[in-house]
Symmetry: C2
Subunit: 280 residues, 2 copies
Amino acid sequence: MKFQEKLDKIVKKNNSLLCVGLDSDFEKIPPRFKKKKQPLFEFNKNIIDQTHDLVCAYKPNSAFYEALGLNGILALKFTCHYLQKNYPQIPIILDAKRGDIGSTNEAYAKFIFDFLGVDAVTIHPYLGMEANLPFLNRKDKGIIILCRTSNPGAGELQDLSASIHNITDDRRKSRNKESLYIHIAKKVVSEWNINGNCLLVVGATYPKELAEIRKLAGDMTFLVPGVGTQGGDVGKTVKAGLNSKKAGMIINSSRSIIFTDNPRSEAVKLREEINKYRLT
Amino acid sequence: MKFQEKLDKIVKKNNSLLCVGLDSDFEKIPPRFKKKKQPLFEFNKNIIDQTHDLVCAYKPNSAFYEALGLNGILALKFTCHYLQKNYPQIPIILDAKRGDIGSTNEAYAKFIFDFLGVDAVTIHPYLGMEANLPFLNRKDKGIIILCRTSNPGAGELQDLSASIHNITDDRRKSRNKESLYIHIAKKVVSEWNINGNCLLVVGATYPKELAEIRKLAGDMTFLVPGVGTQGGDVGKTVKAGLNSKKAGMIINSSRSIIFTDNPRSEAVKLREEINKYRLT
């Protein structure tokens, strides 16, 4: 089944655009899990069992598993396997932000889609479409390209005014001047999305930019990090990012759900808040 | 010891700017290694033992280890440990091309510098300096920022004309128009390099761009992939990229050394060819 189809089904079934980010930092998980043989996996299992009827996706961030070395990678594999076995209808997004030359991306795609078997991955655009074909050619997988990220310093490069060089008569003419993130969004929509499997990362911390990207991206789905700990406003985010079907967003929250005393009630609250703005 | 100091010593001792890329793709290693319990590690050990007196660095690319799942990560760890124990004077560069928000990059830095204990890492610039501080703040480690990559499609985004937006009186003035990769090179040289530990990735497949970046980067060291299988010309590369000390380049070759019948003789040949252009 194609990623978008799987996503659409669970959005409908769970009436949710909420993605829970499994950023399971060992330093931050409760002591009772740290004593277990597989602390990150046991922690994730507990979160998943509490929230599976509230989410449209889970998004483990590869970094927090790699940070523990081998045992961390094992926890990531166990987590994916647990989801695939018990909740096969919920898509798994590996937030890995990979991006290398083509022959190397083939190897990354193997780890992500064959070894872990997840449904989607985040990638960097910097090396261009040609290098990213090993991801883009995985027709059934969601390929989520960084466009406007949620971090405070995102604008340093992403806000640069970008245009295509035309060197004529020793003079540089530029046309189509626009921000780099807009240029990338347009490229993904019109050129990279040959298999209809592209999504964009657009941070909730920048609702103005989110609205601007929505205008040019049709109904393409966005992965939206940055609500919760990073401070993105839920109302502004939902209003800015919805597509024509009152969907088209995977709104991620990690720390402000998973590291609280009651993850289920935080997930309920955020799903309801999103739906309040989404469905009225 | 700081990365650059370690690099300078081995460049002198081995009279070499050659880096051997340990892109140890399981599909491509000889059958005699495939039978072993740790195929990638045994393959690497053989390459390392044959070439340790000829190189200035080894560069495993994370993707080829991740592609094998847990056993691959174990092979990467064993390879790093083998080098650290037997050839501690040779720097290890993990080609990981990471880049996430700050709190996540902290976790990546843990895997790369604490679990694996390597000397340097490659990173993506797209999220900006603020997000990359967890790497940049590792003063003793080499932080190698993607600038102009070696792949055929590198120019799609990297050649865009980039300038800083200035919105004045509803009018956008742009100044300092230059290619995105030039803009990034200048930023790294003048702003990101607060700890004197930055390097740039500049592909050998683009000698004109390499020369242009050398002009603005002082004596900063470049990691230069793209000779060998990717087709970069050694003479043009060396002439374009050397700094004022006849060094400042880590010239990487992977496939055209490690997947040949005699890796040592290929490494000798390439080191000599580099030195021919470097020392005359």
